[in-house]
Amino acid sequence: MSMEPPVGLTAMPVTKIAMITTLVVPLMASIANYKHIFLLQYDPFLQTYHQYYRLFIFQLCAINESDTVILALLWYLFRHLERLLGSHKYLTLIFLSWAYTTLVIWGLNLIWNSFVGHYQWLQWNNFTTGSLPIALSLVHFYKEYTPQIYEWNIRLLGPRGGLSNHNDSKQEDEGAVEWKINDQFLLNGLILLLILNQGFAGLLCGFTSWMCGIFIDKGLLPGLDRWRIPFVSRWISQGPPTRANVAMAANAATNTAAARASTEAAITAAGSANTTTPGPASMPLRGSSTAPTDTSTAGDDEPGADEPARPLGVQFLDSFRR
């Protein structure tokens, strides 16, 4: 297994689903003006209105745009975990994280508010929005199972830094601040932003969810070792996203795309050829019997074709460029 996960979401169905959900649900909700059903607060929603359904859906949609974007980026970084665990186990892990974090946060909230929260200012009222608990639970797995690849130092010179350039190194160290940064600093930064973005609730729920992640890993919260979500293997049956699998899937994708675009690409190629060099010399040498699947070589067959095959999307874009 190589150090860097392959770029893109090929053969990563669970990550794809998670990212799409993170982005599409808030979009749909705000178009339909139903974003408020994803807001969770102890008072009034749980305490007064008894709207317990909010507990089970609040992780589906982040209320703020910045949270949405950060979560989507985090899911992309977590695709490493899908590659490590396999899609099915990863999906199970996400589901368990969702269930356990929801229950634990709710339980702690109930306990706190029934014992301590009689005072208005001590009440734990706000919860996080979006899949922050799941993400924090997954952070544990990410940190635990991803080796650090490299690190580097950033040295910030103090106010007398200008002098230190031509003095000895001893003086240099006095005024300098040194930061050690490793390859996971993007993830760390995003997590930090996500938590700070949501204030105290973010810290509290984030810490609790991290604990949940550790407990799931250690088996204290059971399920990950033996149980898998049933009936979903059809959708995620591509097998573990090994490099060979990924390459195969990528090939398949380009092949089908090429096949789909073949006719139009051929039209464009032939058309452009005909305008530049008139006459039968530019004719494609394909009889009517040529099967449409035989298109991977269509571009090479045409002597006059100076353009590569263009898929439909490229053609639409081209119509704006010209």
């Binding site: 705000s30 178009i31 339909a32 003006n33 408020h36 059903i37 807001l39 009034p44 929603f45 209105y49 709207q51 909010r54 006719t263 139009e264 051929a266 039209i267 032939a270 058309g271 005909n274 305008t275 008139p278 006459g279 039968p280 004719m283 494609p284 040498l285 394909r286 009889g287 009517s288 019997s289 040529t290 639409f316 119509s319 010209r322």
Partner: protein, 758 residues
């Protein structure tokens, strides 16, 4: 750029124009400045009088209230002056001696209009009534009451020449005004009324935290509203509109509004007219006075007057009657106070509170009366009701979301259709005008959505998404398709219909100028996009302006337009007939031969039926569902007619599919089509030379020999005539070679002359 004298002068002129435009108050001359000063001064004096006025005192020098109804009865030509000799200014009683309403109207108000809750305040009324109410209006009397004379101060008049600096003094009366053909009366008996209510919000002065001022401080008892009232007769030939401030008494459910213009300063009269009861309540007067005063201080009413306000006040005074509007709301006693607050909060700021918004009763005006003191018109309204504005927005949002789904379905159908016709020969059979009509509707819908998005900020997101999906459909997919249709039909320009029926576009007709250059797709695209946007703008303006036409004209226009725009399959029927697609049985028979794909029907049936349903659903909804969001009238007959018309078009298309596209044309009107499969003569071989083997010619596409059928030589009669094709320009190719070429371009590969499609 070189800066010489001319450029400098130009820049200075531009700067002069820029800086000499009127400032915030719109004053552009000394005369106007003086006008505005006079107005402010007048308002300040009247405000001082207003501040000193108590509930037991009459109006003094407040514009429009100098005469009472009784004064006019005593002397109909009485001028409105202050002080009037013999008039009591230190007393007040709500009758015609003091008010500008006749006693009869005051009685009606007390007994029939404002009668729901006089003394007791146990009834509950919704505190927030932002809505549009619709109902009926009847004229009770339009020549029974004496008209109170209300003068306009002459300083409102615009300057007559440039040298004039000081506005004239004095006042003018109606009889002295030049006539512009305006109507100081209501001449119909029954009509329709729309009342638009919006709240003046409790805004705090955000710029200055030290000087926080509020209006509507007594939020739970009194509120200031903006009222926009439009009423007209059924045919909308005579329209009246009033736009004014109103006071809403939340405890009693009463709304009072008096129009404001340069002949009636109604703001100062609201306290007196809000308290009409015999058991005259001082508290009401003082509350309303405080409310009006708060509003005055909050807005700096006199100091923020602009030239625009002044001109509006002058125009309103000149062109319109003044109206006093008295409305009584129906109480919402089925709710408790807390429930009403919850409902209000949920509507203002939706959080999913446990309220049932769908069962919310409408804002209902039980009784209402309009009286015009200066025109002597009395009107009465009934059945006026409407849902809360926020509920209306929610319902429109649902409609818009459904519309987006329709657009998505249309895009999907169009893509399958485009995939179905992927060769020029197939695209050639599709009617350009059919898709132009569809495209025009989609494009103008997109523009209308864009316009609406800037008008209704609450619905910005769904409107923009609708506009965007509609625009993508119209300007990307449909235009792309139109470009390819146009490009495949370029050959047929300047060709007569008979030639087209023959399918023989390629014969060398010496009279017909051959196109010197055949435009490629990008130049076609440019011209089509230009045409598209031009048509779009024209059409959108037409639609937008048609909404303000009188009802009858508007309806005729609408019906004709909908009928024409729903005839989109007619051009395709003609196109099918022109292109002569064989019947289904023949197609099945000939599909064993080479050209399978060439003989399909050009339009997919899923596309035809899906498009028809998508496009007629909104029309059906608007015309059959009587409480639709567009307030469109119900007309089932038209929908039935339209559906039958669409059904007729589809059935013709279907019959063309089954029987062949020319079944309705008599046999002798159909000329023979061009046949690519024919025997050749010996002269052809001698003229064009033969291939390497005898009795063959070279196929210019595959560069190999084509065995041909030559009439004079019997050995060649073994050759299948369908194995080669002869173009109208007398070039010979293998059938397979030419057919595959013709799926790219309908031009002869050798001489580039146009080829008739298969």
């Amino acid at each position: 750029m070189e800066i010489d004298g001319n450029t400098l002068v130009f820049i200075i002129v531009i700067l002069f124009l820029f800086f000499s435009t009127p400032g915030g108050d719109g004053v552009s001359s000394q005369y106007e400045f003086n006008q505005l000063q006079r107005l402010k001064q007048q308002l300040q004096t009247e405000h001082e009088t207003f501040l000193n006025m108590t509930h037991a005192e009459n109006f003094r020098n407040i514009t429009g209230f100098k005469l009472s109804y009784q004064d006019t009865l005593n002397n109909p030509l009485q001028n409105a002056t202050y002080p009037l000799p013999g008039k009591e200014y230190d007393r007040w009683f709500p009758d015609q001696n003091y008010m500008i309403l006749p006693n009869e109207v005051i009685d009606t108000l007390n007994t029939k209009v404002w009668n729901t809750s006089n003394g007791d305040t146990s009834n509950l009324f919704p505190p927030n009534i932002t809505s549009t109410l619709l109902g009926k209006i009847d004229v009770v009397a339009n020549n029974k009451y004496e008209k109170i004379r209300m003068p306009i101060p002459r300083f409102y008049e615009p300057a007559t020449d440039f040298s004039e600096d000081i506005p004239p003094d004095g006042e003018t009366y109606w009889s002295e005004w030049p006539s512009y053909g305006e109507l100081h009366n209501v001449s119909f008996q029954h009509g329709e009324i729309a009342i638009q209510i919006s709240h003046m919000d409790n805004i705090q002065n955000a710029n200055n935290y030290l000087r926080r001022s509020f209006i509507n401080k007594k939020n739970d008892h009194w509120k200031l509203l903006n009222l926009q009232i439009d009423f007209s007769d059924k045919a909308e030939k005579e329209k009246h509109s009033i736009s004014s401030k109103a006071v809403y008494d939340i405890q009693r459910g009463r709304i009072l509004s008096i129009s404001q213009s340069s002949k009636l300063h109604s703001l100062f009269a609201l306290p007196h007219y809000m308290s009409l009861q015999d058991d005259y309540d001082e508290k009401i007067f003082n509350d309303v006075k405080e409310l009006v005063n708060e509003f005055w201080n909050f807005t700096d009413y006199a100091d923020t007057m602009t030239m625009k306000d002044l001109q509006n006040a002058y125009n309103n005074a000149n062109l319109k009657c003044e109206y006093m509007v008295f409305l009584q709301l129906e109480p919402w006693n089925q709710y408790s106070k807390d429930q009403i607050k919850l409902i209000d909060d949920e509507l203002n700021w939706p959080l999913g509170r446990p309220v049932n918004l769908s069962s919310l009763p409408p804002i209902n005006v039980v009784s209402g009366l309009l009286y015009s003191p200066d025109c002597g018109v009395r009107l009465q309204i009934h059945e006026v009701k409407g849902t809360r504005y926020e509920l209306k927005i929610i319902s429109i949002r649902k409609h818009l979301l459904f519309g987006i789904v329709l657009f998505a379905a249309q895009i999907y159908l169009l893509l399958t259709q485009m995939h179905h016709t992927n060769t020029p020969s197939m695209v050639n059979k599709i009617s350009f005008y059919c898709f132009s009509m569809i495209n025009l509707v989609d494009g103008s819908l997109a523009t209308l959505y864009f316009v609406a998005a800037s008008v209704v900020p609450e619905l910005y997101l769904p409107l923009v998404i609708s506009a965007f999906s509609c625009f993508i459909l119209a300007s990307i997919f449909e235009i792309r398709y139109l470009i390819s249709i146009y490009a495949s039909q370029v050959n047929e320009q300047n060709v007569g219909i008979v030639n087209l029926l023959r399918g023989n576009t390629g014969t060398y007709d010496e009279n017909r100028p051959r196109p010197a250059f055949i435009p490629d797709e990008s130049s076609i695209g440019g011209s089509l996009y230009g045409r598209f946007f031009f048509m779009l703008i024209i059409f959108t303006f037409l639609i937008l302006s048609s909404t303000s036409w009188p009802r009858q004209l508007r309806m005729i226009f609408e019906y004709i337009l909908i009928f024409i725009l729903n005839s989109y399959w007619v051009p395709q029927i003609f196109r099918n007939a022109v292109k002569g697609i064989p019947s289904r049985r023949e197609r099945v028979r000939s599909s064993n031969g080479g050209n399978r794909s060439q003989n399909k029907m050009p339009l997919l049936w899923s596309f035809v039926i899906g498009t028809t349903i998508i496009r007629s659903l909104p029309v059906v909804y608007v015309f059959t569902y009587s409480s639709n969001v567009f307030r469109h009238h119900k007309d089932v007959h038209f929908v039935v007619f339209l559906s039958l018309w669409l059904l007729f078009q589809i059935s013709i298309l279907y019959s063309q599919d089954i029987l062949g596209s020319r079944w309705f044309l008599p046999k002798h009107t159909i000329p023979d089509g061009y046949s690519y499969f024919k025997p050749l003569s010996k002269e052809y071989i001698s003229e064009h030379g033969s291939g390497t083997v005898e009795n063959t010619v070279d196929c210019a596409i595959c560069m190999s020999d084509v065995p041909i059928y030559i009439e004079e030589i019997s050995e060649t009669h073994k050759v299948d005539q369908h194995s080669y094709m002869v173009t109208p320009c007398n070039h010979v190719f293998h059938t397979s070679c030419l057919e595959s070429w013709m799926s790219y371009k309908l031009q002869c590969p050798v001489c580039r002359s146009p080829l008739p499609p298969l």
